[in-house]
Symmetry: C2
Subunit: 571 residues, 2 copies
């Protein structure tokens, strides 16, 4: 029988335990739940998300599926993408950059730092490393010219010149992408948006922010936070990634369950098309039914049909109160019931509903040495976050919800964070899984969307697969240590991880392309939120029909007939 | 000093008055606020919205701006659109429907009611009236063939045949549009979606509904209501309009402030392109970053590039509690402050924030004979609705909000509905304005999006314009009785109405195209939610640049190179 939770009177009758908490965080019980301003949780979560970022790093499929290098190992030189993908050949239609081209760009952008020139100047490869290589150290291009326009007009003139002269271009934001989309493959010119970084306007009545594409996400959120608003997107790479590129990759992130997708929140875009045309669709209106909503095409187009130079986005009111609860459940059916109840009872304040299976939590415990929040083991765990405008109301709703789900035996046991430290510990149980997976060797990671009812079946079947083929076991004889499943339940977004002890080609063979076929049969998505880039280009057929791909190619042909924009990638 | 509101203890100290209410609704004061299930409010609002629907009817611009006929006058025959728009000529490229064509369609759809044939059969014009004429009695086409496919395959075969034979097609849903988009202009074949009306699936865990395009909006909402969900769109025409056409027209409606636009809520579409290709993008996933999001193009395309045959839409949890408050304010600046405070304090439960000026309420009072809720007059009034999961919490939030805005003198006076009847009376003050405008003669109506800070300036300037040119006054000598402003403050959506005593060409001259120029200068939209159709086709230049229009024409050319889809309209 679990220990009664003594700190929260409303929960006395429940089998809530926070002894694990007390030991873990060495805190005295407090008389009531302490809820914190949302601005703090963002900071906190941001730290967590450095691991979330790492988590996503190897989900990118592609040619190299060997277990990832550990960050603390000495780093070898990154292979050129052209070596990792030997089938990729440079498109001979594209012109190589010449001294004349550099002269044109210098004339446009000046002699300062806006042009990084390795064509006519003696520069080392290392000067281009930040633009050629991705942060996962998985992709490496061979660009020798980086342009950093300061105005939309610059972008227009650059693209027109490149289009007229068949110079290939890779637009680049913060270069925090996970699928190799933001770095060149061969000698494409890198068009960095970093100098286009001004907030143009914010209307604190409507909540509409208009800002240049190169504004850092964290800065955009800090800006609207001063006016008690929140940028409707939150990501691990927040301190580096740029809002224009967030839109270009249709970033999902942590706030999607609550605030919805970019397609709903983006009110306007300014986009430069490959021929230099400036698409002036930077409205600030919530309603505007005057013709095709063209801007939508550029959301998630990964820079393949134009360059987003500015965005207009609807920012919601910032929630002053945040609560987090963690609980154990007996089955995936109970998880679904709990999710239904949470949607019903927490409705307008529910901001996260995260799923973690027993295996993922056990791996986290083993790897981190942390004690788990609950005393007993359960097949499944969930983490719930609420964000609302009234602390007392939110606590009451959450307590009522917990009483109900425990009374109905949907949930077996649970805890509610009572201060910042506990809240951090609970989120760590979810966000520490990624690192835990890599702790014992390497990990194969898949970022998938699957209809909710079938979401966990994939984890069970993957596990059975490795049990049957003799690749998984407790001793070091087996390459696979564990198969774990976790993710954003609220978005039907599963992270399937196969934690391995060492690289073994048989493991890869056993899971691919089987996993993509499995997802395809259930009308799922092989890339929930990370996009296609270079890594998943070849797998799009598992998520899209030939008809859809042909129609997509029609759009590419319409806007980029010369194919100069971010070539070799996407579709 | 207004009377103290005695029924709500929390409001005792406020200058709230509900005496008007008591007289109006003849109710005894009740001990506490009675909040109602959302399902009831929908029914209620639906009744109201028959007037909202009427309100929108003449906002459609176009060639005929004469004051609308009153519904109770004997109805004359509706003019053919070709007579009202003499500049429109039938495109001679389009083939006329022949007996052979009818034979093909009969072979495909059978001998039953799926083909309404006036080509080879002797039928009266009245048999086609429901398909040729819009419900506003403003547009009338000359179609002699109506097809009612029962499957997506039917639609595909019909469109392929029409495309191959250059037969023009007008897709038609419930034919409740406001801009003449859903009726033919000449002899276009009407493709009715009414027999494609099955709910395909509903997942009550994820809240995703998949349904045929021809399902009636009310039926869709009733269906998900059984599972405690809500269709994220609510409209006056709910009992007649179809969900596929709602998507095709990017309908806004009453729930936009809370649940966002179609672009965020639509998860998938099945669309038949003019060449018969079925675009199978009917996913149910919240996250799917695998290529261009093509379905977005068809949201708001008004049937000009394809026919939506099925939709997949995310339905939120239904709110069990609904509250309504009505208050008076001294200036538009105070209205903006109140809106900011409502967003801040009511945040996650705010579901409507409606603006009404003094003139609109006075006109409503004169026309309806109803007593207004507040004793004193104020330059502005607002109606606030909250929807949430917890009745007590919502009431407390609303009361706290009202205490604050009255304490700070942002709001001068206010009432909160205590039962269904009072709630209905409050909504009537907002929704009765439309009918009131027409009560004294006719009305010119404009449905506009304007940045919030400048939204009311247009009403003031329009009023000044009519005062200066001597067209507006209290006696019958003046054609203009009043200029009123009201609308969806939460969506920056203004309804500007000029209530007239009689038709006078000078009135029209004084306001057009001045009003469109005014909106254009402020980057507003000449059509917030009603679309372009035939009525606003010629005015799109006031809301979109030549570049944007050229790009839109590129999309039209890509999907409908023969131009057979809904010709003569849109862009």
């Amino acid at each position: 029988m679990p220990v009664i939770h003594r700190a929260i009177p409303a929960l006395r009758r429940l089998r809530l335990s926070n002894t694990a908490f007390q030991q873990q965080s060495r805190l005295q019980p407090r008389p009531a739940q302490v809820l914190r301003p949302a601005s703090q949780i963002v900071q906190l979560r941001h730290q967590h998300n450095n691991t979330e970022k790492a988590e996503a790093s190897t989900s990118a499929g592609g040619a190299d599926h060997s277990p990832q290098e550990q960050p603390d190992r000495p780093q070898s030189k990154i292979k050129y993408t052209s070596e990792s993908y030997p089938n990729l050949k440079r498109d001979s239609r594209f012109k190589e950059v010449t001294a004349d081209d550099v002269k044109f760009f210098r004339g446009l952008l000046g002699e300062g730092s806006a042009v990084l020139d390795g064509v006519t100047q003696k520069t080392g490869e290392e000067d281009f490393e930040a633009y050629n290589a991705d942060w996962m150290r998985k992709y490496r291009g061979q660009c020798r010219l980086v342009l950093k326009p300061e105005t939309t007009e610059h972008v227009s003139k650059i693209l027109k010149y490149c289009n007229d002269n068949l110079l290939a271009v890779t637009p680049q934001g913060g270069n925090t992408g996970l699928v190799g989309g933001s770095v060149p493959v061969f000698d494409e010119i890198v068009l960095s948006l970093s100098k286009l970084n001004t907030v143009r306007s914010f209307d604190d009545v409507s909540g509409v922010l208009v800002a240049d594409a190169g504004v850092i996400l964290q800065q955009a959120d800090d800006y609207v936070a001063q006016h008690n608003h929140i940028f409707p997107l939150d990501l691990g790479a927040k301190g580096t990634c740029q809002i224009g590129a967030n839109v270009a990759t249709n970033a999902g992130g942590l706030r999607l369950l609550r605030y919805g997708s970019m397609h709903g929140n983006i009110l306007g875009l300014e986009v430069v098309l490959p021929d230099g045309t400036v698409m002036d669709d930077l409205g600030t209106l919530r309603k505007n039914n005057t013709g095709y909503d063209l801007k939508q095409l550029f959301i998630g187009a990964e820079g393949t049909i134009g360059v987003i130079t500015a965005i207009s986005i609807l920012c919601p009111q910032r929630s002053p109160a945040v609560n987090v609860a963690y609980f154990g459940l007996e089955s995936y059916e109970k998880v679904q019931e709990a999710f239904k109840e949470a949607k019903k009872q927490l409705s307008e304040i529910l901001s996260a509903f995260e799923l973690m299976d027993h295996q993922s939590q056990d791996l986290y415990r083993q790897a981190s040495g942390a004690k788990l929040p609950l005393e007993n083991d359960y097949p499944f765990y969930c983490l719930i976050e609420t964000s609302g405008s009234n602390t007392d109301h939110d606590s009451e709703k959450l307590n009522n919800f917990l009483e109900h789900v425990m009374g109905e035996e949907i949930v077996q046991d649970g805890v509610v964070a009572q201060d910042e430290t506990q809240l951090q510990s609970l989120w760590a149980c979810r966000e520490g899984i990624s690192e835990a997976g890599q702790h014992f060797g390497g990990v194969y990671k898949y970022d998938l969307s699957i209809p909710l009812g079938q979401l966990y079946d994939l984890v069970i079947e993957t596990r059975e697969r490795f049990q049957k083929n003799g690749l998984m076991g407790d001793s070091d004889d087996f390459p696979v240590k564990e198969v774990i499943g976790y993710g954003h339940m609220g978005d039907s977004n599963l992270h399937l991880n196969v934690a391995t002890r060492r690289y073994d080609k048989e493991v890869e063979k056993a899971i691919e392309p089987w996993v993509y076929e499995w997802v395809s049969k259930r009308n799922g998505s092989i890339s929930a939120e990370h996009g296609l880039g270079l890594a998943k280009k070849e797998f799009i057929g598992y998520s899209r029909s030939e008809t859809m791909i042909a129609l997509m190619k029609g759009v590419k042909g319409l806007y980029d007939p010369n194919g100069i924009m971010n070539p070799y990638k996407y579709i």
